[in-house]
């Protein structure tokens, strides 16, 4: 059997040698020409893409807000956007995302403990958006310049309330640090909703969101004299396509 295989291989190799030819170019025109309008594509009828975004809470001078450490507050989101082109200049979009909200309080919030304390609320949520996207000018085969406006909603499915405590040692020696954590504490509204606005170019966009709903439940608001967390966020988003 081995001899037969070996003989076949030798004959085959001679056959190849005896008839060598070198094709240095071959093109099938259908393989590289797409001369019909594409249904799927960045500026096609349908487009589906991943994105990541980060938003920061913004202060407001017009309404009372619980004091937070603004630089340390962020909402990170990762999700999928789907865009359906209605006209060349207008698309309808929707979005499904996972969001992680980090809210760092600048004051004692729930209850006071002995020592210097820092309170933080972490919220995990699943969200959605519904928006209209207006293309500015003609974008050709690209996302182009666009303006989005619409609404968002989310479901908060878990939260962790953390208190970091630093006890000053009366003898002036090393300070003692402690951390208290309360999971799924009943102070966060399960549903949030609001309005959004975005301006973008290609992969990048700046977004502004305003939350109409309260974030804290009535029980918590009673403790804060009906003062809720900041409702306005500004952020950046990058489309991963």
């Amino acid at each position: 059997m081995k001899k037969i295989i070996l003989t076949t291989l030798i004959i085959a190799s001679f056959a190849i040698d005896a008839f060598s030819q070198r094709e240095i170019l071959y093109e099938d025109v259908d393989n590289y020409t797409v001369y019909q309008k594409q249904k799927f594509g960045v500026n096609g009828k349908y487009f589906f893409y991943n994105y990541a975004s980060i938003d920061f809470l913004m202060p407001s001078v017009y309404e009372k807000q619980l004091p937070v450490r603004y630089g340390q507050n962020y909402h990170f989101s990762y999700g999928f956007k789907f865009k359906f082109k209605i006209f060349n200049w207008l698309s309808l979009g929707t979005d499904f995302n996972y969001s992680f909200k980090n809210i760092a309080f600048d004051d004692i919030f729930l209850f006071e403990v002995n020592g210097k304390q820092k309170d933080k609320l972490l919220i995990n949520s699943l969200g959605t958006e519904l928006f209209f996207r207006t293309i500015i000018g003609r974008a050709g085969n690209s996302m182009g310049k666009f303006i989005d406006f619409g609404g968002f909603g989310s479901v908060n499915f878990s939260n962790i309330y953390t208190i970091k405590i630093t006890n000053n040692n009366p003898l002036g020696l090393q300070a003692k640090k402690e951390k208290l954590q309360y999971k799924n504490i009943n102070i966060v509204e399960p549903f949030l909703y609001g309005a959004l606005f975005r301006v973008g170019v290609g992969h990048f966009s700046l977004s502004a969101k305003y939350r109409f709903s309260d974030l804290l439940k009535n029980t918590a608001l009673q403790e804060t004299n009906n003062i809720d967390l900041p409702k306005f966020t500004i952020g950046v988003e990058i489309g991963l396509f």
């Binding site: 008839f19 030819q21 025109v29 001369y35 309404e63 000018g137 974008a139 305003y210």
Partner: protein, 515 residues
């Protein structure tokens, strides 16, 4: 509530600042315009028009009504370009201003101008002077035939549209042109002034491939031609390049250009492949108009052959344009980056090819550069010499004669077009056809080729070109074999309709209908 108000105001201002845009505003008529062609046109432009039978009092050359321009200017933020050919202006305006402009009784229609741009890039690396390559880039076209017979484009006026011409005013490669005052006019359409000898050196490289001489050796063929240098390409402010192209074309027409050469193109992301039909883009329409005025427009295919886009850019997609692809200078086969045809409506592009790797003059010396940007001016120089051999040729006749002279003619494919133009066609009135160099048989679905001239195989590169076309002329598949043995085989593709097999080897062309 106040917060909501602030949000709305913020959004409103964002929209306002974001939505300022560029538009073409076209007018219904040219009422009250007065026009004297003898004061407007250069004498060479008048001569060209007479030759091509283009009327001197063509309404498309009349000036745009100044009152219309003033009225529009009163509404919009600024008026940028005025086009006589298309009777309009390009403006920067907000949508609200544009709505107001649209209500003017003399406004025919308004079109937004694309906001994103793509310029034809080129790859450059520094190298020492390479005399072999310099010889190849001209001898592929039998350039010495023109040089030895004193055809150097004398009397032909060439307009170059590019991104800048630094050092053209001092570089020794262009000394013979400067000494004879053959740079007739210059204009920077981005900066609106006459000084073009700065910015990108791409234009310097291109010009050297048309007319440069270094140490007594030609870099390009049209060393005796006259030049109009227009800067139309910008890197920082990309929005107005197609407007600049049109404005430069009108300027070239006015100043008597016989040939426009433009080593640039617009593709992704501004356009889709299906826009490349020669009728959709504004710059393609402008190229057609320039051609209608009797100017031969020579344009680069683009450097997307190895990119996703892969096909021709615009304005090379226009039917009237002589579109130029790139080939390897040592063997004349398709160079990897040169964009392929056909156009979106199935027309052949490129028409011809030239070296896609060339010795060029850089800002401060000589270098080797890659790109159809340099194939194009090599062909432009060739075209100027060809026109000099018979100045009675119209622009379209010249284009056809260049095609007829090409090395593969009448064979063509979407990588090489009709091949590389040959000077012997114009100088010696020789065509490139040859006696039978191969025969073929078809057995089942396989084509068997037997090469007859074995001697030629050993002495130089020889290639068998083949394609399968439909009866309407569109190619389905095409390929190229380097002939190393005296036999070649390839498979016939399965299609639902009859195919025509076309083959070319060593000057011999044949075709066969496969049922």
């Amino acid at each position: 509530m106040k917060t909501k108000l602030v949000v709305v105001i913020l959004l409103f201002f964002s929209v306002i600042s974001f939505s300022q845009n560029r538009y073409w505003v076209f007018f219904t008529n040219k009422k009250n315009s007065t026009f004297d062609p003898y004061s407007y046109f250069d004498q060479k432009a008048i001569d060209r028009r007479v030759k091509h039978g283009v009327p001197l009092y063509d309404s498309s050359d009349f000036p745009v009504n100044q009152q219309y321009i003033s009225s529009v200017n009163f509404i919009v933020d600024s008026v940028n370009t005025v086009t006589r050919w298309f009777n309009g202006v390009s403006v920067i305006a907000t949508p609200a201003q544009i709505s107001e402009v649209l209500e003017l009784s003399f406004v025919k229609n308004i079109e937004p101008i694309f906001l994103q741009t793509y310029t034809c890039d080129y790859d450059t690396f520094l190298s020492s002077y390479d005399s072999v390559l310099l010889n190849q880039q001209l001898e592929l076209m039998q350039g010495s035939k023109f040089i030895n017979n004193n055809f150097n484009g004398a009397g032909i006026r060439i307009a170059i549209f590019d991104a800048g011409f630094p050092s053209v005013d001092i570089h020794p490669v262009f000394e013979h042109i400067r000494n004879n005052n053959r740079i007739i006019k210059t204009y920077d359409f981005a900066k609106k002034n006459d000084y073009v000898y700065k910015y990108s050196s791409h234009g310097t490289m291109v010009m050297s491939c048309i007319a440069g001489i270094t140490n007594g050796i030609n870099i390009g063929l049209a060393t005796g031609a006259e030049f109009l240098l227009a800067r139309t390409e910008i890197s920082r402010e990309p929005f107005s390049e197609e407007e600049n192209w049109l404005a430069a074309a009108e300027w070239a027409d006015k100043n008597g250009a016989d040939i426009i050469t433009s080593s640039l193109g617009y593709t992704v992301p501004r356009y889709f492949q299906y826009n490349m039909d020669g009728k959709t883009t504004f710059v393609a329409k402008a190229a057609k108009m320039a051609s209608d005025k009797g100017i031969l427009v020579v344009n680069a295919m683009g450097n997307d052959g190895d990119a996703n886009w892969k096909v021709v850019g615009t304005p090379a997609d226009a039917q009237e344009v002589l579109s130029v692809g790139g080939v390897e200078p040592d063997d004349g086969t398709h160079i990897y980056f040169s964009s392929f045809g056909p156009t979106a409506d199935g027309r052949l592009k490129p028409e011809v090819c030239a070296a896609g790797k060339a010795i060029v003059a850089s800002k401060d010396g000589l270098t080797i550069s890659y790109g159809t940007s340099f194939s194009t001016p090599l062909i432009t120089g060739f075209a100027a010499c060809a026109l000099q051999t018979d100045p009675s040729l119209t622009n379209m006749q010249l284009k056809q004669e260049i095609i007829n002279s090409a090395s593969l003619f009448p064979y063509f494919d979407y990588a090489h077009g009709y091949g590389i133009p040959q000077a012997s066609y114009f100088v010696d009135k020789q065509d490139n056809s040859n006696d039978t160099t191969f025969y073929f048989t078809i057995d089942d679905d396989i084509v068997h080729i037997n090469i007859l001239k074995e001697d030629s195989i050993e002495t130089e590169f020889k290639f068998l070109y083949y394609n399968f076309s439909f009866s309407n002329g569109k190619i389905s598949q095409y390929g190229l074999f380097q002939i190393e043995e005296d036999q070649v085989e390839f498979i016939i593709p399965q299609k639902n309709e009859d195919l025509i097999l076309k083959m070319f080897f060593d000057g011999y062309y044949t075709e066969y209908i496969i049922k």
